[in-house]
Amino acid sequence: MTVQLARTALDAVGDVADGSTVMIGGFGPAGQPVELIEALLAQGAGDLVVVSNNAGNGEDALARLIHLGRVRRIVCSFPRQVDSWHFDEAYRAGRIELELVPQGNLAERIRAAGAGLGGFFTPTGFGTPLAEGKETRVVDGVPMVFESPIHADLALVKAFQADGAGNLVYRKTARNFGPVMATAARRTVAQVTEVVPVGAIDPETVVTPGIYVDAVVEIDGATTLAGAQPAQRGAAS
């Protein structure tokens, strides 16, 4: 399958149905695909299930998505931040469901989905409130909890470079959830700082092989938000 080299973030995100499950990469601001989330805001889908390590900061795009009531449920390890007031308000008002997941379980459940596994047993969380009601088993003397895979309809990730084959290279700690989320969604969209020609990325350094990537958009500083304006919807096919 060829990779769509999209002109705008909105084109890259494409049609997202109400009720979709959307994975959003990033650990705090590092690796957060801001312009793709802006495009999701502009695109209009609601009743979303968002899978993300955090639940937005300040007035950033994810926080606004929550504030606008577009997220029905969030699967998250660390929603509480000093500036997560939009999530906090929605949570306290009962306007958003929270599935709180230990961070390693979140990553591994996403990885399991991408790898076609039916789940796994892990020592993390055993005996804690976050494992209540879950199947347990003692493996090699260690009590473990069964955790199920997390699949998504759409993954939005941020990388440093993509080539025309969709291969991705990340940058520093902005890598975080990108590589696992890219594997676990029916459609994966990457915003990158730079799209380079096929052959320009050393195959030894590819982190996410293009097989996992459906669309790529180059986000170039000041021009990034232009594609996410509602007025431009449908401007490109």
């Binding site: 590092a30 929603p79 997560s84 949570y91 390693g104 005996g127 409130p129 009590p143 520093k172 700690t173």
Partner: protein, 228 residues
């Protein structure tokens, strides 16, 4: 481990300052270890690790070989630690994704993790992610994975809460982070061993400015002494 040979109560005439506590934790970390420092108080331990110790710091968001904070003009928003604070990479550093980062923990590749705590029980149960108060927004992050994953999980904390209640308890009353996972508590007034191997009695390793008896009174618990 030399500090462990000092008899309980024989060292220190006053409670430790935060910096002294961080130095005390650092003194027990073996050269060459892979170490994860939790957010908050444990972060300070990094300032007391000798430069030639060969200790490598792991941060859960995907970096081994984490260095100190950068100069203001070198801050990189894509190079942060678990507390989302800008850091630096040292020579020999490696980046990896979240599934790899937590595999390093659960797989027993991290030698030591230092965690903060709200409560620790005699048997090493840890509560450090939820105060249990109604209306509080819960958040767990990597605490549960770290607590059970590292080869050795230790806690660095003040021994008493701000309103004077002991944080070392017979049974945790707050929501647990992990069961039987903590082996040692480093606090301002004492180093105390805990854990499932100790048969229900915490063991005083070292006290700072308090006697064994005063500590027991402070905690409302009996403490064994010395090394077992």
């Amino acid at each position: 481990m030399s500090a462990e040979t000092i008899a309980a109560g024989s060292r220190g005439t006053a409670p430790l300052s935060t910096a002294q506590l961080a130095a005390r934790v650092a003194a027990d970390i073996r050269p060459g270890s892979y170490v994860n420092l939790g957010i908050g108080l444990p972060t300070l331990v990094a300032d007391h690790l000798p430069a030639d110790s060969g200790i490598t710091l792991h941060t859960e968001n995907g970096l081994l070989g984490m260095g100190p904070s950068p100069r203001a003009d070198l801050v990189d928003p894509e190079l942060i630690n678990a507390g989302k604070v800008p850091v630096t990479e040292l020579a020999g550093a490696a980046y990896f994704h979240q599934a790899d980062s937590f595999a390093m923990m659960r797989g027993g590749h991290i030698d030591v993790c230092v965690l903060g705590a709200f409560q620790v029980s005699i048997s090493g149960d840890l509560a450090n992610w939820s105060t249990g108060s109604p209306g509080a927004v819960p958040a767990v992050g990597g605490a549960m994975d770290l607590a059970v994953g590292a080869k050795r999980s230790v806690v660095m904390m003040k021994l008493l809460t701000k309103d004077g209640r002991p944080k070392l308890v017979r049974e945790c009353t707050l929501p647990l982070t992990g069961v039987g996972c903590v082996s040692r508590i480093y606090s301002d007034v004492a180093v105390i061993d805990v854990g499932p191997a100790l048969d229900g009695e915490a063991r005083l390793v070292e006290a700072f400015g308090v006697s064994h008896g005063e500590l027991e009174e402070m905690l409302g618990l009996g403490l064994a002494s010395g090394q077992g």
